[in-house]
Symmetry: C2
Subunit: 359 residues, 2 copies
């Protein structure tokens, strides 16, 4: 019950242990098509360029920036946690100019500040933000931020690593242009894959670049030859076949449950956790109206030794929770309720165990 | 029995299906240390910076070049197949100047040409070559090429994707400075990981760069914070935990068998395959003295339809072999004898099946 990787269902683990097919085997290619369709369902999009990058979420982030940013491009980046900062690192390493919109950790990105910044920089190419900040537990207002991007004629880039499967992600409804997620959060698949999706407008930008994408491995112009239209699959790199079996199974489970049901299960789980921890006098670090159900930042009670308490939870209660990151290190714990792990039994065990270690 | 991914042992598949631990769990960190030690054994090196990149071999290649190449750097690249060409792509995208030493596909890289080129370009920073060319089945003379790199005061970068575990790879003995491999060839692990190793000289070059590494995800200066000395592990990206279980198990199997025994098994398998195919009148595309045992390129017999024959092998004989790549497309088949797949039963089945489809 940390910030990810989350618990993986035995069904997904079993799927992954099936014999390794060739990455151009016709049966595997059918599976790739199904994965694309299932990802389109999960992301609520018709984007043709929707597929998993063969590496963790950090590489999905990099895939979005290396494909969309050319040297000198202006990118407005919203920062209210560690992953916004990582976006700036990515933009800079692509030779782009990152214009930061900073808000305190634990707060939402201010729409007014973003608006003012876009107004001040009319030549902005991309607006990038984190939908669900894993470092703080804050939900940013993705719909409004994407609307601002459209209004100011730039493309939106959205980090949905922790949001996908846990709260609503509506790529076509919000008009997202580029989005990346991770396999190991609310999808409850094994870590190592990063679903991405690009709108037709983003694809056009990638195809019309003046400079080559600096990463060969992440160049969408090349990857599309492998993940593109069926029947034309050509080798680019060797796909992580077994991890893709796992992703396929976890996405099937999401579709069987239904997106809305999955979101409601996370919300119910969060409320149950809140009630349990509140009764222990533990305070949440994020205001209710933009609190993520799947990532709960709570203040470490006064007098409790952070590392010692987490070690005790792990060793005596078989329970992993996350430490604070960056500014919040030593101040908060991060309790994940992600995917398969978000169930009553776990929440009861968590509250009961935390009650014992903070005594 | 294609050019990879190779067959994965049930033991490795079972290891992979164990419950997902947190990527900072003390038990997992112990496993990481074991993986490092096992990779040092497999690569025959004491290099401290020896670890798996969290993505396939193509990302391992990119990890070597993005860390070692700065804009303007000269890199001599040996090309006698598709992966040498891919190295050039990588160098160019890093802003480096690639100086090509080209030899025909199916031939070894000429040591004399490399020597002449290094002499003509005394400011060369790196000499890069492919040890085992998966696109042709040629073994390049790694020991001599590394000796040339030392003689001309540049660092060596070696692609060992297909060689590691199948033929000798002697990082410290040869004086290799940077090497990458893949999990899915002769290690017979699932695809998706790329073992890499950097010599102290290469590490010094990476630490003394004037420009940041263009990839955040592959920046060794950051990754070392996660994969470096035990007890100091900090989050960089979420490791592909279950795939690392698989790598650990496959490396354990290699150590149990013993490096020399594994090389001999591949050589014996190759000779058996050669004898079987030779008796069918099938000719090998690569001369005996630099033929790889684990990747056998054979000419498609005259009058045989390439795609139809391979489809028949797959559908009626449950056997995958590889198509030719690049210049050799439509001319050769590539038959892999890699790791777990290199055993008598498979070779007998392969020869008997090929005999039937070429009739």
């Amino acid at each position: 019950m940390g910030p990810g990787p989350s618990d993986v269902s035995p069904r997904v683990l079993n799927a992954m242990a099936r014999p390794t097919l060739g990455h151009l085997d016709p049966v595997f290619i059918d599976l790739m098509d199904e994965i694309k369709g299932l990802l389109q369902y999960a992301l609520q999009t018709k984007n043709a360029l929707t597929m998993p990058v063969s590496a963790p979420g950090s590489a999905g982030m990099e895939a979005c920036f290396v494909n969309l940013v050319e040297p000198g491009d202006k990118v407005v980046v919203c920062i209210n946690g560690i992953f916004g900062q990582r976006m700036v690192e990515n933009v800079t390493r692509c030779g782009g100019q990152a214009i930061k919109v900073e808000d305190p950790w634990g707060q939402q990105t201010s729409l007014q500040k973003v608006k003012d910044t876009l107004k001040a920089h009319p030549d902005t190419k991309l607006l990038a933000f984190v939908h669900a900040e894993t470092s703080t537990g804050v939900r940013n207002d993705a719909a409004s931020l994407c609307a601002l991007a459209r209004q100011y004629k730039c493309l939106s880039v959205v980090d949905a690593v922790t949001s996908l499967g846990g709260i609503e992600v509506d790529v076509d409804g919000w008009g997202v242009d580029a989005i990346y997620s991770g396999s190991q959060k609310c999808l409850s698949c094994v870590p190592g894959l990063s679903p991405v999706s690009f709108s037709p407008a983003a694809v056009a930008v990638i195809q019309q670049r003046k400079t080559p994408v600096q990463s060969w491995f992440l160049d969408m112009n090349l990857i599309v030859g492998y993940w593109g239209e069926s029947g034309k699959r050509a080798y680019h790199h060797t796909a992580p076949v077994n991890s893709l079996y796992a992703l396929h199974e976890s996405l099937l489970m999401l579709r069987e449950e239904g997106l809305e049901n999955a979101w409601q299960r996370h919300q119910r789980g969060h409320e149950k956790l809140y009630n349990g921890l509140d009764a222990l006098g533990i305070e949440f670090a994020v205001a209710k109206e933009f609190r993520l159900p799947q990532l709960n930042s709570v203040f470490i009670p006064e007098g409790v030794d952070d590392a010692k308490a987490r070690r005790l939870l792990l060793e005596s209660f078989n329970l992993e929770i996350g430490a604070g990151l960056g500014e919040l290190a030593g101040k908060v714990w991060r309790i994940g309720l992600m995917g398969h792990a978000c169930k009553d039994r776990n929440i009861d065990h968590c509250v009961a165990s935390v009650a014992k270690v903070i005594r």
